[in-house]
């Protein structure tokens, strides 16, 4: 008797690689990295993992964190638009993704200036 709370899929699932999937995958990857960063950041600030502070004091590491966060933030806002507004309309994914990338680059460049100066 199959369980009703489990959905069954074929063993081999082939996903179509489109812009929305790339955006989703990057959102997952950046989310995991930022999540781990936040945990270790708090641990470092509380004196438990002091080594992490010296690791992230590097300007390149700071910019990397900013890039990851900026992408996750703007793409997260895109997801909110999909859920609550007209963001899921056909043909919108590529345009939205380009806007997300554009804003990520702009914020990262703006953030890099004071980090390096």
């Amino acid at each position: 008797m199959p369980r009703r709370d489990l959905v069954t899929y074929p063993k081999k699932v082939s996903y179509r690689k489109h812009t929305g999937m790339v955006a989703w995958l990057l959102h997952r990857i950046t989310g995991v990295i930022i999540g781990l960063y936040l945990i270790f950041h708090i641990l470092a600030k509380s004196g438990v993992a002091g080594w992490f502070t010296s690791l992230t004091a590097n300007p390149v590491a700071r910019i990397l964190v900013l890039v990851l966060f900026a992408y996750h933030a703007f793409n997260g806002f895109r997801i909110v638009l999909i859920d609550f507004s007209s963001g899921a309309e056909e043909g919108m994914f590529s345009k939205q993704f380009m806007v997300v990338i554009f804003l990520t680059v702009i914020v990262s460049v703006l953030g890099a200036i004071p980090i390096f100066s």
Binding site: P2, R3, D5, L6, V7, T8, Y9, P10, K11, R28, G31, V32, I34, G35, L38, I39, I42, L43, K45, S46, V48, R62, L66, F69, A73, G76, F77, I79, V80, D83, F84, G111, P114, I115
Partner: protein
């Protein structure tokens, strides 16, 4: 055909889903303030105002995000219990440490 994705009951997870959106939008604002306040002045400045929401919503958003990934890929109930237990322990520990850091500022 193979069981793949844990679905839970059909009406569970709505609160978590909504809070993930709300905490995400709040986090966008507070982290940008936190980041640019830190790199521009090096002082706490506005960070004092955003520190509380940053820690509370940050820890929730992180742990709920990990849970959402677990929901997608882990269907075995034992492994789910172990992972969700770890998330709770890590979340509470980090949250407690975060509050102690915030109270020292």
């Amino acid at each position: 055909m193979k069981p793949y994705k844990f679905m839970g009951s059909s009406d569970s997870g709505v609160f978590e889903w909504l809070m993930q959106r709300i905490s995400g939008v709040i986090m966008i604002v507070v982290i940008f303030i936190h980041f640019f306040s830190m790199i521009s002045t090096g002082a706490w400045g506005l960070q004092k105002i955003v520190l509380g929401p940053l820690f509370i919503f940050g820890v929730f958003h992180t742990m709920n995000g990990f849970k959402m990934i677990t929901d997608d890929y882990v269907s075995n109930s034992t492994w789910r219990a172990i992972l969700l237990g770890i998330y709770w322990i890590v979340g509470l520990t980090v949250g407690f440490l975060a509050l102690s850091v915030a109270s020292m500022m």
